[in-house]
């Protein structure tokens, strides 16, 4: 993994929603091509904000984000989609009044010529979505919506996929399914950066984890190392063993 080139680099990001209040106080991250990265940390550490700052949804006040060596700091979301970054928000991640098929079409909005081809490819990953393609997304359950959201983000064939708490609000079985699917997507060559509350499960499938604390990236190590790290166990995993 170490010899792969760096695809995404965040350098000392300072960002926040309200003027004068920074949520991120110097977050850095280096992601190599094809890696599956998990970002964990306590509530309010700035995990989701970090992900949103990478995707330009939160204004970055200082520091920079580069994608494949190119500066993408504060670029508009549609520009990032064009450059191959996909984003799945935690909540409100489907278009409720559109059908599943229309949701997926919106995912491929910038490459509508490839829509049919991509739909077929996504259909192999999520066959159930194709069976129910004319159903309104607003009538789906949380887990089904998560599936639509992930499929939508994959329609543009992104190099980098950002997932904001994909397991939030799902049943344990659905959570497992989500993690397995994330791993599968990663194996197809997509670099995945995921923010997770479910730290243990997340670290089990990750190549590398980042621990965030109070708006800074406290430390990074491989998923397995973090799982065994006494400090991580105490702070984020509880005392129960895996």
């Amino acid at each position: 993994m170490t010899d792969k080139p760096v695809i995404l680099n965040a350098d000392n990001l300072i960002a926040g929603y309200l003027p004068g209040i920074n949520i991120l106080n110097g977050c850095s991250m280096e992601v190599k091509e094809g890696e599956l990265i998990g970002i964990i940390g306590p509530n309010g550490a700035g995990k989701s904000t970090f992900l949103k700052a990478l995707f330009g949804l939160v204004p970055v006040r200082d520091g920079s984000v580069t994608l494949g060596g190119e500066d993408i700091t504060n670029l508009r979301a549609d520009e990032l989609v064009k450059r191959g970054v996909g984003f799945v928000p935690q909540t409100n991640n489907v278009f409720p009044s559109l059908t599943i098929e229309e949701n997926l079409e919106m995912g491929a909005y910038q490459a509508s010529k490839n829509f049919k081809k991509q739909l077929k490819r996504i259909g192999d990953l999520f066959p159930v979505l194709i069976e129910r393609k004319n159903q309104r997304a607003g009538s789906l359950s949380g887990g089904e919506r998560q599936m639509v959201a992930m499929a939508r983000a994959l329609m543009m064939d992104p190099h980098v996929l950002l997932l904001d708490e994909p397991s939030a609000g799902l049943s344990p079985a659905r959570q497992d399914e989500t993690f397995v699917r994330t791993r599968e997507i990663n194996k197809t060559g997509v670099t995945v950066i995921m923010v997770e509350q479910n730290a243990r499960r997340c670290l089990q499938i990750c190549d590398r984890g980042y621990v965030l604390d109070q708006g800074t990236s406290a430390y990074t190590a491989t998923g397995q190392e973090l799982l065994k790290d006494p400090k991580v166990i105490e702070l984020y995993l509880g005392t129960l063993g895996a």
Binding site: R76, N92, V94, F95, S97, T99, N134, G138
Partner: protein, 357 residues
């Protein structure tokens, strides 16, 4: 796809119409008895029936005509609300503006720009003046979004503040139009449209053509929203602007298009309204605004077809109520229906309650 998507919605709309029809027939039979008793209504029926016209059916028809014109104006209001969340109080003036521009271009009388000393007469034929008027209004929609609304959105001005800006703009525009065009109603065409008798309905050719244009325009909007990629993206922005942007849709371009469409449709509605009521005053659009809000709310806020259904109901209720109630009360009756429907269906007729989680 269209059929599966809106079958339930259509069913609901059909149900509402059925109930309305039953109600109207019931009241009609009662009204028949009352007519004989009151001299006033008797006078009305005699004048109306002199041409073989059935007062109720005629008013029902007038209601549909008015409803279609109202729909043209309110579809844009609904689309703007859906995509941006703004209740645009200046939408009534967009209706007046379209009609006034058309008058400016079509009238054989001398017209002038405000504050400029020279006056002239454009005197274009109506068939040319109307499309150019709509095009100018569409351009005005573009300019409005360019210099006001997109700037406010970019600075993240909250909705209540934006709404107050729209109220200010409404006042500014209505006064500007009065200053420019004067306080008296103007007529877009001076020829008199002879009325023809079709069974129990008497209607002029211009009104029939207006109806056809209105229906075609509404079908056009429906086709755009349902069958074109841009239209589906418009619905996506309406559903969830943040996600639309994260999907790679240029949300601000979509909103710009919505503003242009809304302004163009409002102008078309204004022109047809001016033909229908044989003239338009500087504040006719402003007066219409409350009806547009009522129609959009009744149909289901932000639901594009809700505006159509709501407009037709408002139009029909307002016109038909004049059979039994004084005409001054017709809009009050329509708003009364709004309250009753919202008590039964708080999300409006076509509005769908979203499941949570």
């Amino acid at each position: 796809m269209l059929a599966t998507l809106d079958r339930r919605a259509l069913l609901r709309a059909a149900l509402v119409f059925l109930i309305a029809a039953v109600g109207i027939t019931a009241v009609l039979t009662m009204g028949g008895a009352a007519e004989a008793a009151t001299a006033e209504t008797e006078a009305v029926t005699t004048t109306a029936s002199s041409g073989g016209t059935n007062l109720l059916i005629q008013n029902l028809f007038n209601g549909i005509v008015f409803g279609l014109l109202l729909a043209l104006a309110s579809v844009g209001l609904s689309l703007i609300y859906g995509t941006t969340g703004l209740s645009n109080f200046a939408h009534g003036e967009m209706v007046t503006f379209g009609a006034m521009i058309t008058y400016f271009l079509a009238t054989p009388q001398e017209v002038s720009f405000p504050l400029l000393p020279f006056s002239f007469s454009v005197n274009w034929p109506f068939w040319l003046a109307a499309p150019v008027g709509i095009a100018i209004a569409t351009g005005f929609g573009w300019i409005q979004d360019k210099i006001i609304w997109s700037q406010l959105r970019r600075r993240r001005v909250a909705m209540v503040q934006q709404m107050i800006v729209s109220i200010g703009l409404s006042l500014a525009l209505v006064n500007f139009i009065q200053w420019w065009m004067g306080g008296r109603p103007v007529r877009l065409v001076t020829s008199i449209d002879p009325r023809n008798q079709y069974g129990p309905i008497s209607v002029g050719n211009v009104t029939l053509i207006s109806m056809a244009i209105a229906i075609a325009a509404i079908l056009g909007v429906a086709f755009f929203l349902q069958r074109t990629r841009l239209g589906r993206a418009t619905r996506a922005v309406s559903d969830n602007p943040a996600l639309a942007s994260a999907s790679g849709i240029k949300v601000n371009s979509i909103i710009r298009i919505v503003w242009m469409m809304a302004a163009g449709l409002a102008a078309l509605g204004g022109i047809l309204l001016a033909l229908y009521q044989q003239g338009i005053g500087f504040d006719d659009g402003t007066k219409l605004l409350m009806m547009m809000f009522a129609a959009v709310t009744l149909g289901g806020l932000g639901h594009p077809y809700g505006a159509l259904v709501g407009s037709l109901i408002i139009g029909i209720v307002a016109e038909v109520s004049t059979v039994w109630l004084p005409p001054d009360l017709k809009f009050a009756t329509a708003l009364g229906i709004l309250i009753i429907v919202l008590l039964v269906r708080p999300q409006g007729i076509l509005g769908k309650p979203e499941r949570v989680g």
